[in-house]
Symmetry: C2
Subunit: 723 residues, 2 copies
């Protein structure tokens, strides 16, 4: 077998790489390269982990100069092994990895896990090194995990593989965990062990030079051991791809929820992330948009990640968002109510028969409204009666059971009571036995029965609210990007030959016109006469706007004249404008003025787009002026979008009510805004050279009356299009 | 000794009640009334708790028909006890408590704890019952805790008192805990036990019919066992009093931080609270204002309460808000950076010498910028070097140490390393050893050395941010309410005789004028002639506004005419207005029109005030229109206020930047706004009959140019003032 020369075009086909990924998780044989005999060194620890956690395949240590490691016969070179080797684990120093990979290629290894650090995260030289190993893998169809990672775990008893230097093998479970940070995995494993949470697959993918989160997500989509996926990301490199892959997983029959932490939320965090794994974290608001479109539930902490995961894994999905609370203490009931409502859940109103049942079963001092207070001396019989009554109520979609350890509280008895009710319940149940010592016995009973338990009722509510996000996503129909009509050639004729920088205003307007934006009649006029002639042809009033590459802020130099009612007014305005512009910017090259229809006032909308280095073309929507600047009240989406996404962008700003006719105004033409967003989506998707585009404002009139582009700027990036 | 007849005027003097409160915490003798021999009953459990937790005074069971309880001689009646009894604990059914209290009064008992429920929380009859027992206590100078509570704990070894039915006595500590919910206390005690947190005093004050949170706070101010106070409240009954008491505790020499949870944040939560302890929860935004003025740090969960408490108790206050992070894992470092910045902390930039030290001590792959990553194979020597280096940096105010349990991580060794550094550190340190199993040994070592530990770095950051709130509060100078000049008699002449309902517009303007608000010249005119005469005297342009008790929304019936430039315009407008108003509201009684100076446009400000049933006179500030309605961007304060509070109200709205000259506008006259807030503060404090007052808008001009009241409505409440 010979090593193929690296070639960027030799990337393996989809099915090939998918077979190769399978060798990461289900290898029939593994070689660990460079194993020593010293516990506490990574190669030994990994070898030892595989050996001692009942891996069902064959394990080969490669250890030049050693006859055996832990009684297992050792090999001098990988190529000395007589058997096929599916998976190789490499922990050599970064500069030796390339050689090792060449050996792997020669041996026909299907997959490698590169634990070693010292690649892209250490700067340009590391990045080059990373590219070289990636090229070898690509050229030889080797699936690579890493570099700079902790390794891979597959708890499937048919494999029982811990190819990582984690301290412990987690329990088997139906949750897969993918992490960009290796060290975080060690904390997560320890944390999960404490909570009794099991995993199906556990992957630290590090620098993701070979297999990325997309490949792994795609693999897990078909993994019958996995019901849901948790993801820790420090950067996104391809938002559009993530949306495609995640949508396939999170929607439709056999959908699996994906929960994710994306760190680097703040600019400081993003800069720390960059120095850590060499990530280029994108703007957080755009990440948010990506996750929303992808159907990925973004959470903010490991606590929330697991809290929501156990609710999704262990309990059925509820029908709706209404909650019943059963508690033996009023205070926590009040706090839980606050938390539930604050998280977007509703407090179920009980039917009269429920109230009657509660009234019959509970003492007079109890509260039989929701939250139900069975009061401090309640034992399991009273809890059971209350739980059965509220679960039977059609208005109740899910239940939270709260217990405080009062002196008469039979904690374990009540826990068993919850288990009894849970055994035949069809609605989700969560518990909060509050405390840390006396309640432990009860919590153990609940967890053994897979009833989600949360130390604080607030966390239970938050987890239930995340479940609602999953339900909402699934109920949202999938949509295709919409191709609005456009004269693409006309736009290309302007954009393709344009140099880097801003398009002239008439060109920018022409581009929008080609994409059928509502652009008022306009003309670039070289003289006052020409402007008057044009104004006469379209009718008054008109607007004049100066056109000069040196003048960006036209208003500041009196380069805009509004509401000109007559030919004379146009002439006067033209003269005054030339004078004031010359006075303000003596060196400006004046290319003329844009004469334009004066359009009626309306809601001021801002539509923006930019080519993001990480995410590609992105769209922004906001209400004019104050809302954008003071409240950052804007929404983002990745282009291209469809009609439902456009509507979501409009509806998700806080100031949205203003467009629906708040404060006595007429409702705005929201349909016209959505149409413009769809046109913008197509425009920036068709022309990657559009670096930035701002329509500010788009004036929008009452419903059915449309709107008009009042100002636009389009910035073209450096490389001109090949002819 | 004879029982004094209850009389509302016989409330004990301050020093008397303070001596009586001391009998709650430091009784020389205690009687528990109605003790049985059955474990699991509240009277027995309380008796047993006192007996078995080494109470240093004398304990007397009162148990008719029993010779002894747990070998302690029992008494038939309280009055049979030969000794003085300082404290009585009462657990009788609600309807027997009154009798029991009469016995206490006869015996000269100084303080009582009434555990029993069945009072205000069960409705009007319970409230009456509660009033009767309160009257007996007041008349006899008895300090009462409860009813409807868990009891009281004093861990001072000189007393060692657990007069509660909590399952366990907490450890001694320097934190006092006061709770309106008794059952919550049981959860908190169990939780604290798990975290190794001790308490000085622990009080469940229930319905607070006798001693309220104010009395207890005041007592704890002088308690040398207590360094900080935690408070759980479901309702506030007197916001102004709480501000006074809390300010004395949280400021000045010997200041003690107060952290509080106030539940019933949401309307649904408030309604659950009302059904629970009969609370009337006030508007949450006003609570927020009360806590801010009181210097009470409001937190949102029990987790945050303790997280912040241990930071405040165990660590010195930092000099500023800058944080250094030392971690052995990049991912958690990024997440902590996000959390720190998100909580308002800053990430310290390191001095060159710090970077040099880090560079010398750490391997090449380490990150020597903040967050410092000592990387996965770090042992305690590397951690210690990094910690010493960053703590020595003058730009670092506090440090967070993060550990993930990687295979080579010597968890306990590193914990001991942190302890070494902590032993001579002068800056606050917190740790996050992430996980739940392997890290436990390390966490125990840290907690034993009083180094705050948090499972998640996010929580550490939140706790440190709460510490910043304490520092900010202390740096804020105390201020006296400001008495703005006012002609109180002139206002009284209008308000005192007014019937319930809205003042006529000219009267409302006259009230504002008496308090020296900037009210433009105006007159109530009965005819067009009168209006013209007045307009001639003040000069044009003027405004006419209809005056009719039936017409609230003047604009809707064309009852406002703006910008009238001449006598003829005034006459025309007057005629048109009469016609349109008659057409729109044929039955309206027209009392005339207000003729008024037309004032220039300006920033539109809303100033509001209302008499709140719970908080008394409250003030509101917001920017006109959209900001108030769409974004709820308003601030509240309790009247009376001083200049600093007025400025805070203005600066705390999000849209504040608009007043400072954002978007090319001139800065507004903020001083004029503050002056109006101070005038409003005095006005509503002087006249409790002002139920609601809205100045909407106050037009405010550029700095130095003042502003003008453009519209005002004042609603007077039902009871007319006694002459």
């Amino acid at each position: 077998m010979s090593v193929q020369a690296p070639s960027p075009k030799a990337a393996p086909s989809g099915s090939g790489i998918s077979r190769a990924i399978d060798a990461v998780f289900n290898p029939r044989s593994i070689a660990v390269l460079g194993v020593t005999r010293s516990p506490g060194t990574v190669p030994y620890d990994i070898f030892h982990n595989i050996l001692t956690t009942s891996y069902t395949g064959v394990l080969y240590p490669v250890a030049p100069g050693k006859r055996s490691i832990d009684s297992v016969r050792a090999y001098r070179y990988l190529t000395d092994i007589e058997d096929d080797v599916d998976l190789a684990v490499i922990v050599f120093p970064a500069n030796v990895c390339e050689r090792a990979l060449e050996h792997c290629a020669k041996k026909g290894v299907k997959a490698v896990i590169i634990i070693s650090a010292g690649f892209r995260e250490v700067g340009p030289e590391g990045l080059r090194r990373e590219q070289r190993i990636k090229d070898i893998c690509d050229a030889n169809g080797i699936a690579m995990i890493g570099p700079n990672c902790l390794g891979v775990i597959n708890t499937d008893p048919a494999m029982s593989l811990n190819a990582s230097f984690a301290r412990k093998m987690p329990a088997q479970g139906r949750i897969a965990f993918l992490s960009q940070s290796g060290a975080l995995c060690t904390a997560v494993l320890d944390y999960a062990l404490g909570k009794g949470i099991g995993f199906s697959k556990f992957v630290s993918f590090g620098n993701k030079a070979g297999l990325t989160e997309m490949d792994l997500l795609e693999y897990l989509r078909g993994d019958d051991q996995t019901d849901m996926i948790l993801l820790y990301l420090e950067e996104l490199r391809n938002g559009r791809k993530l949306i495609e892959v995640a949508q396939r997983i999170t929607r439709g029959p056999g959908a699996k929820p994906i929960l994710a932490i994306k760190s680097g939320r703040t600019p400081q965090g993003a800069s720390a992330a960059a120095s850590h794994t060499g990530s280029l974290a994108g703007e957080d608001a755009i990440c948010e948009a990506v996750f929303r479109e992808a159907g990925i539930i973004r959470v903010t902490s490991i606590e929330e990640l697991f809290n929501s995961a156990i609710m999704l894994t262990y309990q059925p999905l509820p029908k709706g968002d209404s909650l019943a609370i059963v508690t033996n203490a009023g205070g926590p009931g009040v706090m839980a109510t606050d938390a539930a409502v604050g998280s977007g859940l509703t407090i179920a109103p009980f039917a009269p028969e429920t109230t009657a049942k509660l009234s019959a079963a509970l003492p007079a001092a109890a509260n039989i409204k929701n939250p139900v207070d069975v009061i401090g001396d309640a034992r399991s019989d009273r809890y059971i009666a209350a739980m059965e009554a509220v679960l039977a109520d059609a208005a109740v979609d899910q239940m939270l059971v709260i217990l405080t350890p009062q002196s008469m509280t039979d904690i374990e008895g009540i826990a068993r009571g919850v288990c009894e009710v849970h055994a035949h319940a069809t609605k989700p149940i969560a518990c909060s036995f509050m405390g840390a010592c006396d309640v432990v016995g009860g919590i153990d009973i609940l967890q053994a029965a897979n009833i989600p338990h949360y130390i604080l009722p607030e966390w239970a509510c938050r987890a239930m609210a995340d479940v609602q996000r999953v339900i909402k996503w699934r109920s949202q129909p999938a949509e295709e990007p919409q191709q609005t009509p456009a004269d693409q050639a006309a736009a290309a004729a302007i954009i393709d030959p344009a140099p880097a920088g801003y398009l002239r205003e008439d060109q920018a307007l022409a581009v929008l016109k080609a994409y059928e934006f509502p652009v008022p009649a306009y003309k670039l006029c070289r003289s006052a006469d020409e402007a008057v002639e044009f104004a006469d042809s379209i009718g008054y009033p008109v607007v004049l706007r100066i056109v000069s590459p040196q003048i960006v802020h036209k208003f500041d130099v009196k380069g805009v004249a509004l509401n000109l009612e007559s030919a004379q007014a146009v002439r006067d305005a033209h003269r005054d404008m030339m004078n004031s512009v010359h006075a303000a910017v003596p060196d400006a090259t004046i290319e003329g003025v844009i004469a334009r229809q004066m359009v009626p006032a309306g809601h001021e909308i801002i539509l923006g787009a930019k080519q993001d280095a990480v995410f590609g073309p992105t769209l922004m929507f906001g209400l004019g002026g104050l809302f954008v600047e003071t409240f950052k009240d804007v929404t983002f989406a990745l282009a291209p979008i469809g009609p439902a996404s456009a509507m979501r962008m409009v509806k998700d700003v806080k100031a949205h009510s203003l467009l629906e006719g708040a404060r006595g105004t007429e409702p705005a033409d929201i349909e016209a805004i959505c149409q413009c967003l769809l046109r913008l989506s197509r425009l920036v998707t068709d022309f990657p050279r559009i670096a930035e585009l701002d329509i500010n404002p788009l004036l929008v009139w009452p419903a059915g009356q449309g709107g008009a582009v009042a100002d636009v700027r389009i910035k073209i990036n450096g490389e001109t299009q090949p002819k």
